[in-house]
């Protein structure tokens, strides 16, 4: 498989820490200076939120008798689109342009930022209003805008909370799910100068409504992402709950939508599948309060200037790998985060990536052509809960293993990697396990050698090196004196069928 090398400059924001280390810190009770909510309260908040969404999601998917058929259709439509991605992008471009939209193409995040600044320049806004958008996070747009004297105002409640708290999103449907309402109250009371604000969610929401209302009515430029692009109409679909999205999409003079190139669907009618699967998967609702679908600049109804920035930024190389191409089917519902037992423990920040959870674990390293975030494919016990809930049937465990094999090949291509402890251990194990005689011999040897490690109670309570990770919290049973095969040999061998003689095993099968 060929993967283009991406500019290394974009890696600087990513993966400051490997997953095991970041997870260890997230699990520890100590708050870190640059992560104000990173303590055990955070873990409780994450657990509560994911449990609530997960229960709702399970109920509203179970009630649809055709849920599996919808998943199949969704997967097939997305897979088909990816196989013809250039065709559908061109069709979208033509139709969007015909209806008054302007389509731009950004090869990487730097170009996307530059395009945004160029579009903004003639309007010289001091502020822009924004709808929650993953692509904006991905290209680090807010920091760029601030550097150029433009203040971005996040209008999604959760994004506003995160922005006011100087925090990072931890979940891409509910970015503030790691923050409790008491913490929200404190932030709002300070930022909105309302010291008497209570922590009732109703009051907090009302405070956000009045805080943002004038911004919606007066800010001339809005920036969004999109849930879907529609090739046949040049349409854009945005799914939301609060109405902040509709405000941004309809009131300003100028709208800029930054959209990953994979987000296109062939037909308007394909939404009949995704507007069933996305809300039920994302928030556990039968339908979210608002979906907006429009094309270009409809006369008198919405912005006069509409720009779509089609963002590649590492996506197109993923198409080359037929095994992992399915990653790009993702519709960003975050059901896999809510279902993931690893995410439950660590929350989103430990992934050190805009895209957290199981989908982040496969998408992030691929967006960097496997040159960063190599610990993320291992951030999973392969329990399969993510695949089970995915509304477009992305076999995340399969892709995780596939990406692990690429990480292994990278390691084996270097001297330090091939002489590393893991590689040597796995090579030795493979050497033993592919042979009928070596494995039993190794077991016999281990039975004899283990005794210094075995406690009086018959368990191993301490192991050296990387294995100490096990014994830090867990005992390990010692090998019993007699293996099953030895017992069988002793008690059944004479009754057993003659051993079928396997053909010689070419050990270089690979």
């Amino acid at each position: 498989m060929t993967r283009e090398t991406q500019p290394s400059q974009q890696n600087q924001h990513w993966n400051r820490r490997d997953f095991p280390e970041a997870a260890r810190q997230a699990l520890a009770a100590q708050p870190a200076a640059d992560a104000p909510f990173e303590h055990s309260q955070t873990r409780r908040n994450v657990r509560h939120a994911t449990d609530v969404i997960q229960a709702k999601r399970n109920a509203v998917t179970a009630e649809l008798p055709d849920w599996q058929a919808l998943r199949r259709a969704g997967a097939a439509i997305r897979a088909h689109t990816l196989e013809h991605l250039d065709h559908y992008l061109l069709e979208f471009e033509a139709n969007c342009t015909r209806r008054g939209g302007r389509v731009h193409w950004a090869a990487d995040e730097a170009e996307a930022r530059r395009l945004v600044l160029e579009i903004l320049a003639p309007h010289a806004p001091r502020e822009v209003i924004k709808i929650k958008t993953m692509t904006s996070e991905e290209i680090h747009l807010n920091a760029c805008l601030e550097e150029h004297g433009i203040h971005p105002i996040e209008t999604d409640l959760a994004e506003l909370i995160v922005q006011l708290g100087g925090d990072r999103p931890s979940h891409f449907v509910a970015p503030a799910l790691h923050i409790s309402r008491g913490q929200v109250r404190d932030l709002f009371a300070r930022a909105m100068r309302q010291p008497d604000l209570t922590d009732s969610p109703d009051d907090l929401v009302a405070a956000a409504r009045s805080y943002l209302r004038q911004k919606f009515l007066t800010t001339p430029v809005a920036i969004s992402g999109a849930n879907f692009l529609l090739a046949d109409t040049g349409g854009v679909c945005i799914v939301e709950s609060e109405g902040n999205g509709r405000m941004c999409l309809t009131l300003p003079d100028v709208l800029i939508s930054i959209v990953g190139i994979e987000k296109v669907l062939p037909r308007f009618q394909d939404l009949e599948v995704f507007l069933q699967t996305l809300p039920r998967s994302a928030t556990g609702e039968r339908m979210n309060p608002y979906n907006s679908i429009w094309s270009g600049t409809p006369t008198g109804d919405g912005p006069r200037e509409f720009h779509v920035i089609l963002l590649d930024n590492g996506r197109s190389p993923i198409l080359a790998d037929e095994e992992s191409r399915q990653t790009l089917r993702c519709i960003r519902c975050a059901a896999c985060l809510n279902a993931c037992p690893v995410y439950h423990q660590t929350g989103g920040h430990a992934y050190e990536s805009v895209y957290a959870g199981p989908i982040g674990a496969i998408l992030t390293p691929q967006l960097h052509s496997m040159h960063a975030a190599q610990s993320l494919p291992y951030a999973s016990s392969l329990c399969g809960a993510c695949y089970e809930v995915c509304p477009v049937e992305i076999n995340i465990p399969e892709v995780l293993i596939h990406l692990r094999s690429q990480v292994v090949q990278q390691q084996q291509s270097t001297l330090t990697g091939s002489l590393g402890l893991w590689n040597l251990a796995m090579q030795s194990a493979a050497f033993l396990m592919r042979d009928s005689h070596r494995l039993p011999a190794a077991v016999h040897l281990a039975q004899r050698l283990q005794s210094p490690l075995v406690s009086r109670n018959g368990f191993i309570e301490w192991l050296p090196g990387p294995l100490s990770g096990w014994t830090k919290t867990r005992d390990l049973p010692a090998l019993p004196a007699e293996s099953f095969r030895d017992w069988w040999q002793r008690t059944h061998a004479q009754k057993s069928a003659p051993e079928p003689n396997p053909k010689p095993n070419p050990e270089s099968a690979s």
């Binding site: 037992p341 392969l382 493979a430 079928p500």
Partner: protein, 268 residues
Amino acid sequence: MRLSLFITCYNDALFPQTGKAVVRVLERLGHTVEFRPAQTCCGQMHWNTGYLRESLPILCHFVRVFADAETIVVPSSSCVAMMRDHYPKAAQMDNDPALAREVELLLPRVFEFSELLVRRLGIEDVGARFTHKVAYHPSCHSARSLHLDEIPLRLLRRVRGLDLVPLANSQECCGFGGTFAIKNADVSSAMLADKVRCVLNSGAEVLTAVDNSCLMHIHGSLHRQRTFVRVAHLAEILATGETSSESAAERALAADQHFTLSSSEFPQ
């Protein structure tokens, strides 16, 4: 029926009592069990850790050893999941049409132990007696890959004297995940802590599953915390009989580890 036992590498070395229990149950039901000593491992650890190339000769070896076996029984759902989910792809990767064909012919004859009893042999009552409170942990592969669903529970419900207690959040992974437990030891331990809390809250005396890997992991913490909850592979519970049950059960609860059914209990 002639049944060929794939004991799996870790059961062979660490949990021989499970293999003995499988043999006991199947022989009690009138079947002939054979064991092919040439067998080693299914290749799962290497495959799941990303050492695909290294796992190929291991799985090729498995396919050759069992090529002419009538029906293969495996007391480990994750090993069966490895075969069903990944062997076809592995054969494809190996660019070996002969291997692909062999895999295709072999897979329909491979059964996880409880699946063999219920789906293949149509048996739910194996004549076991086990007078203890038992919770069942549906391991990830048994639930989400093999879709065993109610199968192990149906077997447990027919065990005389057994008090099956519910386990909260039972579908959630215990955090084992093979090398994950080492590579991401902290997260794995946190997941395990949640699982152990649910096990302790269930009030069960014994936790059972169709995978000793998960049981070893959960027991690792139960034992470290000096709790009195024991673990036993489903086969070991099903192997208890009307006559030997008392001694087996009592010894099991007295022993500070997995159930141990000594070979003397197996009529030769």
